[in-house]
């Protein structure tokens, strides 16, 4: 278990790549135009954060949750209602206090959702969380005293954060700092005893239960942690757009975030922002060159294009862009490394199943230092497929 969690040393090209990304991220306000910075990069950051919470749960906990957008929306809605705004309750307390209360409320809801959903597994979990997500949307849509008729607009934001129109750089840096804190925080959490237990539960819930671990409590807590990340994204979203409405949590948004997570690869934390950036770029630039085929496809039909891309990725490369990159890298490396690459190639050729990919821990890049790890990943893949057929011991208290 320890082996699969320890992050493997990065190769030199990857180190250089990471360095370049870090420098570009830090210098973005200088490099890019204000529009690109605020409309694209900052959006990609908070969108990536929501996807990050989903990816954390799926990679470390083996739970694909579709309720993350709901948590995101609850945090956003509470922030908007407590701050000074048009529509909603407009309690008009300090924006910071509003944000903190909002995050607490959202995490509390996440813990409740988690406590209920954590007793089920796999596809049931997906279904239950989706039902919760859609229910939150209907709550938003029906309770107009909270969500307003046209959403809550012109939400007051704390001065230091900066307006995204007038001062995009400072807002960008705030978002970047939050994102970095969440990313490194989750990676660290993955290596703590809690994170290790969580990964054990992901792979072998029955065995972990037999060992005396409280499976549901760990899952619920993981849900709470993911809820915190999603809540931070929700606050950023409200401060970014200065408005929130029921549309922020509708099924289409849930799917958008799922698309982001799948494009990035459901099992790599950094995939969240790869996916988010790809999504935001697609959203902004495909409309210009999308061919117009009657009213089936065209600039107006972005969702159709998005659906087709999503479909293609799920069908062809369930690991998303990150998975595709890693598979390609392993093949190239296997080609150069000769015999040493046998095992790696074997791993990369394993049936491309999203649930199977969970065998390889998120913290551990596919750069597998020795055979057993890859073999272990393969074994886990087999297990996770048969897992549903294993009778639950003590599943019912």
């Amino acid at each position: 278990m320890n082996i699969s969690v320890r992050s493997a040393p990065l190769t030199r090209p990857e180190k250089i790549g990471l360095g370049v990304i870090a420098v570009v991220a830090l210098l973005a306000p200088v490099i890019f135009s204000n529009f690109f910075l605020s409309a694209l990069l900052t959006q990609a950051i908070w969108l990536g954060l929501v996807a990050l919470s989903l990816i954390f749960l799926s990679s470390y906990g083996g739970m694909v949750s579709l309720a993350q957008v709901a948590i995101f929306g609850i945090a956003g809605l509470v922030t908007a209602n407590l701050s000074e705004a048009e529509g909603g309750l407009s309690v008009a307390i300090d924006p910071w206090l509003a944000a903190i209360i909002a995050i607490l409320v959202a995490v509390a809801v996440a813990l409740i959702f988690g406590a209920i959903a954590s007793r089920s597994e796999g596809i049931y979990f997906l279904m239950i969380t989706l039902a919760f997500g859609v229910m939150v949307y209907y709550f938003f849509g029906q309770v107009t005293s909270l969500a307003g008729h046209g959403g809550v607009n012109n939400v007051a934001i704390p001065g230091i954060v900066g307006d995204r129109v007038n001062d995009p750089a400072s807002f960008y840096y705030v978002s970047l700092a939050v994102a970095a804190a969440c990313y490194f925080g989750l990676r660290y959490l993955g290596r703590t005893p809690f994170g290790l237990t969580l990964q054990g539960i992901r792979d072998e819930p029955t065995r972990m239960r037999a060992l005396g671990y409280h499976v549901e409590v760990h899952r619920t807590l993981a849900f709470g942690v993911a809820g915190l990340v999603a809540a931070l994204a929700g606050v950023l979203f409200v401060w970014w757009g200065r408005r929130i409405g029921p549309g922020a949590v509708e099924l289409a948004t849930v799917i958008d975030v799922l698309v982001v997570a799948v494009i990035g690869g459901l099992y790599r934390l950094h995939g969240a922002w790869v996916g988010a950036l790809a999504f935001v770029l697609l959203d902004n630039y495909t409309r210009r060159w999308t061919p117009e085929i009657g009213d089936i496809l065209g600039p107006e039909r972005f969702n159709t294009l998005l659906g087709l891309i999503f479909l293609a990725i799920v069908l062809i490369s369930p690991g998303g862009l990150v998975g595709a990159y890693e598979s390609l890298r392993d093949r190239v490396r296997a080609y150069f490394a000769g015999r040493r690459g046998d095992v790696q190639e074997d791993a990369s050729l394993a049936p491309p199943a999203p649930d199977g990919a969970s065998g390889a821990a998120a913290g551990a890049p596919a750069d597998r230092p020795n055979g057993p790890v890859a073999a272990q990943a393969d074994v886990t893949f087999q297990r996770s497929k048969t897992q549903t057929a294993t009778p639950e011991i003590g599943g019912e208290e």
């Binding site: 007793r119 279904m127 229910m135 209907y138 799917i255 998005l306 003590g394």
Partner: protein, 362 residues
């Protein structure tokens, strides 16, 4: 035994009728509160209570028709067809379009849906039934296509199949918006049918809801029950639910059975769409509404269980109907919070049975 015994007791040795866990005490208290509240309301206005109950049951009928297809597919294949709600909406739209194009008096007119007041077409019964049949069959065929083209070669990868059908939701939703617009549409009922019937104690109640929707639900339930219990297909289905690998090892053509299940399941979604389009209305968002309804029904009832779907549908329908009538406390109208009741229902069931009332771990 002490009520506060912290260690979980296995269900097997639990004495019946004794409350041991705080969860059960809370559950019992909530159930008693709800029952008490309903009794108070029922005594206060018995006709109104019956009316709400009947409304709930007719809603339940519609939910059952849609969700039974959903649960049939899952029961056999372990596939969650997330696009079930989209098939529902598309089925309704197709029936609407067929009725307009084939049977409308002023054919080819684009201003049909706008100028409703004058010269509205009087449709006969057959002009309602033909679109219904074609739309339901079309959805059945579309379901088979989805299965054959997208899902068949991913059998066993549940999450991936769910993601694939989610992709279908996006595409279908966007295409329906493009072709049918965002304005609510409804399928016209035959002019010869009465709009309402008089029932003692209740007063007038929608004829279509009471007879056609409720009747269809009962018919669908009986047919499915007969099919599952009495036919060879049902035999294979039941065996497949228990042990898919064994069934396929015995030489049963599993892909064919799966395609048939998808056909029937999707057909029921389309059928439900026509019923819903005649009873409620068709508009963007109904696809996610009916996906949610189907999800809630099977989460409550248990995936793959027909009886569970019936119980779940009745529970959801009644909760929604009572929520819409009885969430008014004095001057404060809380009916727009009624979704919380649905949430509470799901939570209550899952707290006691994590896999639904009649479900079991897949």
């Amino acid at each position: 035994m002490a009520t506060s015994a912290p260690e979980p007791l296995s269900a097997g040795i639990e004495a019946p009728g004794r409350l041991r866990q705080p969860k059960q005490v809370i559950g019992g208290a909530v159930a008693a509160l709800v029952a008490g509240w309903l009794i108070v309301k029922a005594v206060g206005n018995f006709g109104g209570f019956l009316n709400a109950t009947l409304l709930g049951l007719t809603l339940a009928g519609l939910y059952f028709v849609v969700a039974s297809g959903f649960t049939l597919i899952f029961g056999l294949m372990r596939t969650i067809n997330m696009a079930h709600g989209s098939l529902y909406l598309l089925g309704g739209y197709i029936a609407f379009e067929l009725q307009e194009k084939l049977f409308s008096d002023n054919k080819g007119g684009f201003e049909l849906s706008i100028g409703q007041s004058s010269g509205e077409t009087q449709y006969s019964t057959i002009e309602w039934l033909v679109p219904l049949l074609i739309a339901a069959l079309a959805m059945g065929v579309l379901g088979v296509l989805i299965y054959q083209l997208l899902l068949r070669w991913n059998q066993g990868q549940e999450l991936r199949q769910a993601l694939i059908t989610i992709a279908v939701i996006i595409i279908a939703g966007d295409q329906m918006l493009a072709h049918f617009g965002g304005v609510a549409k409804d399928i016209k009922l035959p002019a010869s049918w009465p709009t309402s019937v008089d029932i003692p104690l209740i007063g007038s109640f929608g004829f279509f809801r009471l007879t056609i929707v409720l009747g269809s639900a009962i018919l669908v339930g009986l047919l499915l029950w007969w099919m599952i219990k009495r036919t060879r297909f049902g035999l294979i289905t039941r065996a497949g639910v228990d042990d898919r690998d064994m069934v396929s090892a015995l030489g049963i053509n599993i892909p064919l059975v799966f395609a048939a299940a998808f056909f029937i399941g999707s057909l029921l979604a389309g059928f439900g769409g026509v019923l819903g389009g005649s009873m409620l209305s068709l508009q963007p968002g109904q696809d996610s509404a009916f996906l949610l309804n189907s999800l809630v029904v099977v989460i409550i009832g248990g995936m793959g269980s027909l009886g569970g779907a019936a119980v779940g549908a009745v529970a959801l329908g009644l909760v929604q109907a009572y929520g819409a009538s009885y969430l008014v406390f004095g001057g404060t109208d809380l009916t727009n919070y009624s979704i919380l009741l649905t949430f509470g229902l799901v939570v209550a069931v899952l707290a006691v049975r994590p896999y639904g009332l009649f479900g079991r771990p897949a």
